[in-house]
């Protein structure tokens, strides 16, 4: 699908070179498309950026939803979420980079239509369900959502950042076990 191809190409360029450095002609060139044709699919670069974050949120949200629907303990879910996050960082590093380097860093781009959680809702809903069901099951400590969210996602984002900077001595997979254990211990009762 053309629309998805444009998003994928733009995602890689935005993640690698940054939002402002990347132009619509750069994206068109990569796809052998005319600039005008890209505008047929996305009215502006800002809208393209917003659609990309929705696409990433939906992609990750769908994976988390599958984990949430499994009849397993919160401890097992924690490990699976860490694994999915690191696998995505390894196989589609542009997705995580985009989230960290574009979505979180260029907030002004996401003002007109992506305020608050709107464009990352699918991902956030599944994270909330993971926490809520963990507390309900008596495994996780009841606390403020963002205290728990920051601990979980900040940790994972930090590890991916270190990997991206070439600081981590081992592959991300190597850390899955320990990190899942640390997160679960920190969040559990």
């Amino acid at each position: 699908m053309k629309r998805e191809q444009i998003m994928n190409a733009a995602l890689k360029l935005f993640a690698k070179n940054g939002f402002y450095t990347t132009t619509i002609p750069d994206i068109a060139k990569k796809l052998n498309m005319s600039v005008g044709n890209i505008y047929n699919y996305f009215k502006s670069k800002d809208i393209l950026a917003q659609e990309i974050i929705k696409y990433i949120s939906s992609y990750l949200g769908e994976k988390l939803k599958k984990i949430n629907l499994e009849k397993i303990s919160t401890k097992e879910k924690t490990k699976k979420i860490v694994k999915i996050y690191f696998q995505t960082a390894k196989n589609q590093p542009e997705m995580i980079d985009y989230f960290l380097r574009v979505y979180l860093s260029n907030r002004e781009v996401f003002k007109g239509g992506c305020e608050g959680m709107i464009c990352i809702n699918e991902f956030m809903v599944e994270i909330m369900i993971y926490f809520e069901e963990g507390v309900r099951a008596g495994e996780l400590k009841d606390q403020d959502f963002f205290s728990a969210f920051g601990l979980f996602m900040g940790y994972l984002g930090g590890m991916v950042f270190l990997k991206g900077e070439g600081i981590l001595p081992s592959d991300l997979d190597y850390y899955i076990e320990d990190i899942s254990d640390n997160i679960y211990k920190a969040l559990s009762k």
Binding site: E115, G116, M117, N121, M124, V125, M128, I129, E132, V135
Partner: protein, 287 residues
């Protein structure tokens, strides 16, 4: 011809009997109905007469939880229930204790249910029964149910035998705080006009079946309109604990609006919280 009512009190605080005194058309009601016995309204017979004599009765009203041990004087309440349940052509459980056990759920049970669990003992007259739950019963809902019975209406009931006419709604329906609910603004102090009480103050209206905000109490008000949370008093699980607090798990309410799936609720919540509606954040009038 007046319809003959027998009001039997079982294990009860008599709150329903008192609540019924607030019915705004009580004298008109008494032109149409006759209490052969009622604990506080003048009636034709004494409780002793009811127990010992064979008195004609059209509708049996039972208030209070059913307890096998309970006696009034030396009269077994359960024997009176059995006796008049046969004679009456309709039975009404008045209030939540008689319907589900309610406040007395540890000492007794409802006529057909203990909380949500259906009981066997009186199943043989379940087809006659209508449950008008509430703590206390809403006087107008009770009176209207009795009029519907008198006039021979085909009363549609929910799975707990409550008339759908009154219990297919939630208490949230008609609440004057709906705008605050929509945009997730609790921001409430008890008794004030502003704010929704669902998010922090324990309000159970979005998942409680009842008409309190459609048929107002004393024709003027409801708990939520007055600024107090709905405690879910018509529900089988009533009373829950910590009624003034919303039970949450990591910020997400444990009990969600009736029939709303968690993913749907959270999606809408995420969007609603994005908006900052200044008009709703501040006092309605601050001059």
């Amino acid at each position: 011809m007046k319809t003959k009512l027998l009001w039997l009190s079982s294990l009860t605080c008599n709150g329903n009997a008192h609540s019924f005194l607030n019915y705004h058309e009580l004298s008109l009601f008494l032109d149409n109905f006759e209490f052969i016995y009622h604990p506080i309204i003048d009636s034709s017979y004494t409780l002793d007469d009811i127990a010992k004599k064979d008195i004609e009765c059209d509708i049996l009203l039972i208030e209070g939880a059913i307890s096998k041990e309970l006696k009034k004087g030396d009269i077994s309440v359960i024997d009176m229930i059995k006796k008049y349940a046969k004679k009456a052509y309709r039975i009404v459980t008045v209030g939540t204790c008689a319907s589900f056990g309610g406040m007395f759920k540890n000492k007794g049970e409802g006529l057909h249910f203990l909380q949500e669990r259906e009981l066997e003992e009186f199943r043989y007259f379940k087809d006659k029964t209508v449950s008008v739950s509430g703590c206390p019963v809403h006087p107008e809902v009770l009176a209207d149910t009795l009029y519907m019975i008198k006039r021979g209406y085909d009363i549609k009931l929910d799975k707990f035998l409550r008339p759908k006419e009154f219990f297919s709604y939630t208490v949230h329906n008609g609440c004057t705080r709906n705008e605050y609910f929509e945009y997730k603004i609790d921001n409430h102090n008890y008794g004030e006009k502003e704010g929704c009480l669902f998010y922090d103050h324990g309000c159970q209206a979005p998942y409680t079946n009842g008409s309190c905000n459609k048929i107002l109490w004393n024709e003027v008000n409801s708990k939520t309109r007055a600024g107090l949370a709905c405690f879910g008093c018509t529900q089988p699980q009533f009373p829950k604990e910590n009624l003034f607090f919303t039970k949450k798990n990591m910020g997400i309410p444990q009990y969600l609006p009736l029939g709303v799936a968690k993913r749907v609720y959270l999606t809408l919540a995420g969007i609603s919280k994005t908006f900052k509606i200044e008009r709703l954040e501040k006092k309605l009038f601050d001059d």
